[in-house]
Structure formats: structure tokens, C-alpha cells
Symmetry: C2
Subunit: 175 residues, 2 copies
Amino acid sequence: MPRADARANRAALLASAAQRFAIDGADVALEKIARDAGVSIATLYRHFPHREALVAATYAREIEDLAEVPDDGSGSVALARWLLRFVEFARTKRALGDLLHAPGADHPPARGVLLDALDRILTRGRADGTLRDDRDPADVLALLAGLWTLPDDDTWPVRADRLAGFVLDGLTTTR
Amino acid sequence: MPRADARANRAALLASAAQRFAIDGADVALEKIARDAGVSIATLYRHFPHREALVAATYAREIEDLAEVPDDGSGSVALARWLLRFVEFARTKRALGDLLHAPGADHPPARGVLLDALDRILTRGRADGTLRDDRDPADVLALLAGLWTLPDDDTWPVRADRLAGFVLDGLTTTR
DNA sequence: TTCTAACCGTAGGAACCCTACGTTTCGAGG
DNA sequence: CCTCGAAACGTAGGGTTCCTACGGTTAGAA
């Protein structure tokens, strides 16, 4: 159990981070987040050793939510539902793009969590014959990276749905 | 006609940039490129007011190459060939990812050039019935953004081909 | 050879990242 | 209620990169 002041500072940092990431994007200065939270930059680094850790912690709950895959329904239906949720996720959490799609070879934990979820869905679809068996979770995530490149205007939802639909189409066997 | 020394410096900068982008990636310090070229950082900024301009100029020739689309063959065949070239493009010019897929609403010229090429291909495929008519060039480019998120190891070519194949499959009508 | 517009480098401010180090404070145990 | 040490804190500063202001230098036309 950490000290009470440490816990409070951590919470304040996460709150500021969520706000700043939403307003200024993923590249906002960490010193700005620290200032908003009323703590020094050193405290931020003590709690979150690098930017990635702060981003991951900020969205930890949402990532866990997205990692849960209901057990009912066919693989293709599960995928369709998951994609809907993922699109909403991408729309509201633009700062996570860098984290999920970093070209580096070492996956951040958040990426692994989502890959696991996709793996469960693909496995189920493979078993019940509703999904093709020649794609893996990383392929799906790579295709969805495009969600973070779409222009940030009113056309976003339409384009995003079309992109997700494209992915779903390409994965389903029924056709 | 600019002065001879200005032309030489510009050429030296482009040569250094090509080398540095290939070795160190898109985020290499501009001062390093300037030093390699034997000029000062101010000279670099005078020729290329921002990083984007330098990247675009460095790969201008290759982008123009990729913008040329042969007139023969069906739309789907043209698309297949173009995708092969684009994959090779992505493999050798990783620094261009940021430029082609910047989320901002204002397209850099290089992006527009490729969108035009894709548009010609899609239009042809729509005319001859080999390509679906409900996708636009920006959709295709968004799907291909995933190429820049793949891990930089030996599995790259395989994953890249699979991704491009997925895009092609999803666009062709013959099935 | 002269002269000026174009080009160049030096120098430095500003923003950000990250760490070393001395100080303060919480809260468990007496 | 006090003591006291571990844990947490902030200040300060070095390093890097971006970008610009300004005065010196040079190419090349007349």
C-alpha cells in the first residue's frame, strides 16, 4: 500500500493525462501534464518512467474492457461486435495509436492484451467455420492502424466504419 | 537558376538525408543531416523550411515513379501490380510513413500524388468491372498504413505481402 | 574589376527530456 | 502524543533538438 500522498498524486496525474491527451494529442509535453496535476516533472517520472507507461496507465481500464470477449455467438459475429467497439475505442483514444502500432519489435503490454482478445475471436471463428484461417491477430491490428491516420473531421465515423467493414468482409468465409 | 553553391548544397543535403533516413529513421535530427552534408543547420532550413519538405524532396523521384500507372491491362491487374510496387516502396522508404499518413486534414502533396494514381486505377477497374465501386483511394491508403506498423524483422516481406493481398482481395469483384 | 543580391555560418533562445541530489512528509511503532 | 526512517517530493541543471536573427561572405552579372 503506497503512501496516501503518492496515491493522490498518481490519480491527479492520470486525470490530467487523460484530459491533455484528449485535447493536445499523444505528443503533449509531459511537463504540461505534471503542471496541470500540480506536481513536479520528477514526480511524474517517478510514477511513470516513460511516456508509454503513462499512456498505458491512462487507458488501462478501457483496454481491459476491450479485452473481454463475450462467449456467445459465432466467431464472425463476435468479430463484428468487437470491431464496432474497437472503432469507438480508436475514435475516443487517439493517443493510443502510437502505443498499439509502434513499429518496434517489442510489444507493449497493451498491444499484447488486444492481440490475445483477437486471437480468441479468430480461434472461435476458425472452429465454427465462420472466419478464414489464414490471418492472424497481428494482421488484423495492422489493418486497423489506418483508423489512426484518418483525418480528424466529420467524415471520421463514416470512413472508420467502412474500414472496419472492409476488415470484417475480408475475414469472413460466408460469401 | 539558383546560384551554383546553392545547388550543390541542396544536392548534398538531399544525399545526406536519403542516407540518414535509411539508417536512423524518419526522426533523425536535422542537424545531423546538415553536418553530414557539410553545411550548417541554417542552410538546411533555408532550402527545406520544415522536416516534411525535406522528406518529400528526398523521395520526390520515387513518388513520381509510383504515380505512373501503365495503361494496359484490367483495373484489378493494374491494382495488383501497383500494390507490389507500393510494398517495395514502403519497405525501402520507411521515413515516408509519417508523411503519407499524417492524421491532419491537410494533405501533403506527396499524398495527393499517390491518391491520384490510385484514383486512376480504381476508375479503370470500376469501368471494366474488375474492381468494386464502393471504395475510394483514401480507403486504400488507410489500409496500407499498416505497412508502416509492421515489426522491422525478417517477417516483414511475408506480412507485407499478406496485407497487400488482403487489400487486393477486398477490392476485386471476381470471386 | 566592381558591386550587390543571394547565400552562408555562428550564436543563441526556447522547449522538452530526463536525472542527481538534498529536503520534506507520511505514518508505523514506541 | 512523539519519534524517526523510509518513501515521496521539488529544485536545479545538463543534454538534445528545433528554429531564427544577424552580420559576414561569395558568386557571377555588368
